[in-house]
Structures are given as C-alpha cells and as structure tokens.
Amino acid sequence: MHISEGVLSGPVLISGGVLAAAGTAIGLKKLDYDQIARAGILSASFFVVSLVHIPFGPSSVHLIMNGIVGLLLGWGAFPVILVALFLQSILFQYGGVTTIGVNTMIMAGPAVICYYIFCPLIHKKKPFDTIASFACGFFGVLLGVGFLWFALFFTEKNFLETATITAASHVLVMVLEGLITVFCISFLKKVQPEIFIK
C-alpha cells in the first residue's frame, strides 16, 4: 500500500513530508535510547512480515500489519515505518525517496490512530476484545487507503476513478488483515501480554 514516484504533485508531497516529519519527531522523542534496540528489531520483523504472502484463492496477498505496529510501538510507529519504507525504496525500488513522507503518513498515521483507539479495548472481556482486534487490523488498512485516496485526489481531481479502484481493491486485504490481527493479538496476549505498549 504505497504510492509510486512521479505521481503526486509538489504540494501533496510537501504536506505529506511535513506531517511525516512531525510524526517522526514525536516518535523519536518518545523512544528512549534504551528502547532503540527493541524498536529496531521490531522494525526488522515488520519488514520481514510485510513480505509474507498469505494465500488467498489462486493468488496471494501480502500483509501490511500497521494496526499491530501501532499497538506494539505507539508513536514509535512513525520512525519505524519510515526506516522500513526507506529500506524498501533502496532495496527493491518500492516507492522512492520523494514519496517517503506521504507513504509514511499512509501507514504510520493509521497505526497511531489504532494505538489510541484500540489499545485500551483489546484488553476488555470477550467478545469485545475480539471485535476490537478485528477492527484494529481492518481500520489500519482502511484508514491508510483513505489517506492514499486523499493524496491522489488532491493531486488531481481526475484521479478520482484511479483512486477509487485502488481503494476498492484493498477491501479483501482489510478483512484478511482483520482476521490475522485477531489471531495474532490473542496469541500475543497469551504468550507475552506485556509486549503491548502502555
């Protein structure tokens, strides 16, 4: 879920960059030096997980997992996702350096929103925790697609159809991401409940 080089207009790139820079600054401020090792190793895990292909019918989809990133790192999601995207752009040419601000916003913005909304809810009683976990995965992608839609729309009104097609193609990913998040959170709660950020 990212926008390639050369599509967005200057003002959209700049506003994305400014917002992402602000988010990263807050994230870095909240990460102490003794948490950097943890953030870095989690960042490496998210990088690997984002390349896992989950079978779906004859094809497969790859996960985004920004909802869980938010739950594990809070505002730290901004620097962690920024680093992962930067590496992706250098290693595989996914996205690029000029779109990195917008793409960071698309993924880290929803992660932080999910952290604020769902972090208290996933520790509630059954079945509320399951619903909250599903919603966390689902909205992580939905909000990201929403940001992506706005970025395209503000670049060029005529991108409306392209943006809507892209957004619609992510509906399945949202459901799948929700399901995986439910299982993943219930697993983490059993195995290591203290892993979630307070």
Partner: protein, 256 residues
C-alpha cells in the same frame, strides 16, 4: 531467499568511489526536483541525466531493468485508467472509450518521472553498502536515534528472516499445506506472533549486550570519508545538472 541484496553496492566505477555524503545529497535534491517538475523538457533532460548516471556507475543493465520491472504493473494500470477517465480534449476513440489528450500527457509524465527517479536512486544511493549509507546519514547530522534505528534494522532483517524460514520449515515438516482457510490464517498469525515475541526477547538481550560494551546513547562512526579531487568535480557537475533542469522547469517564470 535473502532480502538484503546489495547488488550494486560493490563496484569500482567513478560513482562508487565518490564520497557517499555527496551522493546522498545529490540524489535527494535531484529526485525532489524531478518529482515536482511538470515540463516535458525537464523530464526528458532528467531521464537523460539519470540514464547517464546509471552508465557512469557501470551498473548491470539486466539488473537495472529487473528492478525497474517492479513499477511496470503500476505504470500499466496508470496507462489503462488515466487516459480513459480524464476530462478534456479527446485524442481518438477506441470503440466506446475515448482517449483523452491530457490523460495521455499525464501518463507519459508519470512514466518519465518514475523511471528517471528510480534510475537516479540506483546510480547514487544503491552504489554503497547500507552500513555506509548509515554512516553518511550520521555525518550529515541526521538524528542519531533515527540512524541507530536504521542500522539495527538492517542488522537484524537477515536474522529475523532466518527465524521466519525456520518456522516455515517446521510447519512444512509437520504437513502444513497453505490454502484459503481459517487454519492457514491462524497458523500464519501465530507465526507472526512468535516472530514478534522472539524479536522482543532478542531485543532485550541485544540491549544488555550493548550496555555491557559501554553503550551510552552516542552513535560513534569510526569510518572516515576521504577527500579527493573527484568529489569536487562530481559535486560541481551535479550542481550544474540541477541548475540546468531547474532553469528548464522554471526558467520561463523569470523575465529577462
């Protein structure tokens, strides 16, 4: 599979021997100008300069094309949707669909921009090891915490990837067959969960080891970048290129 593939990092071309800091700055300024340019003259010149940089770096053409292939799917999508859905002057008709002139122009601009930017990045930022890139960033006064995060991430991607490979082998040996069903999704979710759990406990051990070796929050780089005449020449050349494409793009705004 190895995720970290520093294919272009080793080499002996002129570009490989330029000071990494100069390459990072040139790449940033050059690609940002291309990304906000609108004139075809600028984009064509930019394409030409990026291509020259790739040639100058002596990159394997096959590998460059393979990497550009990543965006082909996206570009096809743009070419299929944008010319048909754009409003404006009609260029020609295919059956019931009319192809719009501004849509075709926009698609051409996007194609030129994205290919040029990727080529410039391959020639400038991919021609150094990732750790060198980290050192260059720290010398350019990028936040120490961010550089740390970057370095630890590249260090542990390979480790986590091996761990993931081990888990995959373990489920395969136990007869796991992926399919479109709940069991598959549950299994993948648990694998992801255990990856996070192990990453977190590994992080604790790594941090303890760092403290034992006297880590005090500073990022120390013992790498010294050498000064050489070619760095000056390359910087001058990049500045000229950047001025040239800026004049192509915005020159008409200045009254002589």
């Amino acid at each position: 599979m190895t995720l970290i593939n520093e294919h272009f990092a080793s080499g002996s071309s002129v570009i490989h021997r330029i000071d990494p800091r100069i390459k990072v700055i040139s790449a940033a300024v050059f690609t940002i100008i291309l990304a906000i340019s609108q004139q075809f003259e600028t984009l064509i010149a930019g394409f030409f300069f990026s291509f020259s940089l790739v040639l100058l770096a002596g990159l394997n053409v096959k590998e460059v094309l393979k990497r550009l292939f990543v965006i082909i799917g996206f570009l096809i999508l743009i070419w299929v949707i944008v010319p048909l859905t754009f409003e404006g002057e009609q260029l020609f008709k295919i059956g019931p669909f009319s192809v719009m002139k501004p849509g075709v122009f926009l698609s051409a601009r996007i194609t030129l921009k994205s290919v040029s930017i990727l080529m410039a990045l391959m020639a400038l930022t991919a021609t150094m090891a990732l750790s060198t890139l980290g050192h260059a960033m720290s010398r350019l006064k990028i936040s120490g915490k961010l550089v740390h995060l970057f370095m630890i991430t590249i260090r542990y991607i390979a480790v986590i990837e091996q761990e993931y490979g081990r888990l995959l082998r373990a489920i395969k040996i136990r007869g796991f067959k992926p399919g479109t069903n709940m069991h598959t999704y549950r299994t993948f979710a648990y694998i992801i969960g255990i990856l996070f759990v192990r990453a977190s406990s590994r992080a604790d051990r790594v941090y303890q080891a760092m403290r034992c070796r006297g880590f005090d929050g500073r990022f120390i780089s013992i790498h010294e970048f050498q000064t050489h005449k070619r760095n000056g020449v390359f910087s001058a050349l990049m500045i000229l290129i950047i001025i040239f494409i800026s004049i192509l793009e915005w020159g008409h705004l200045i009254e002589f």
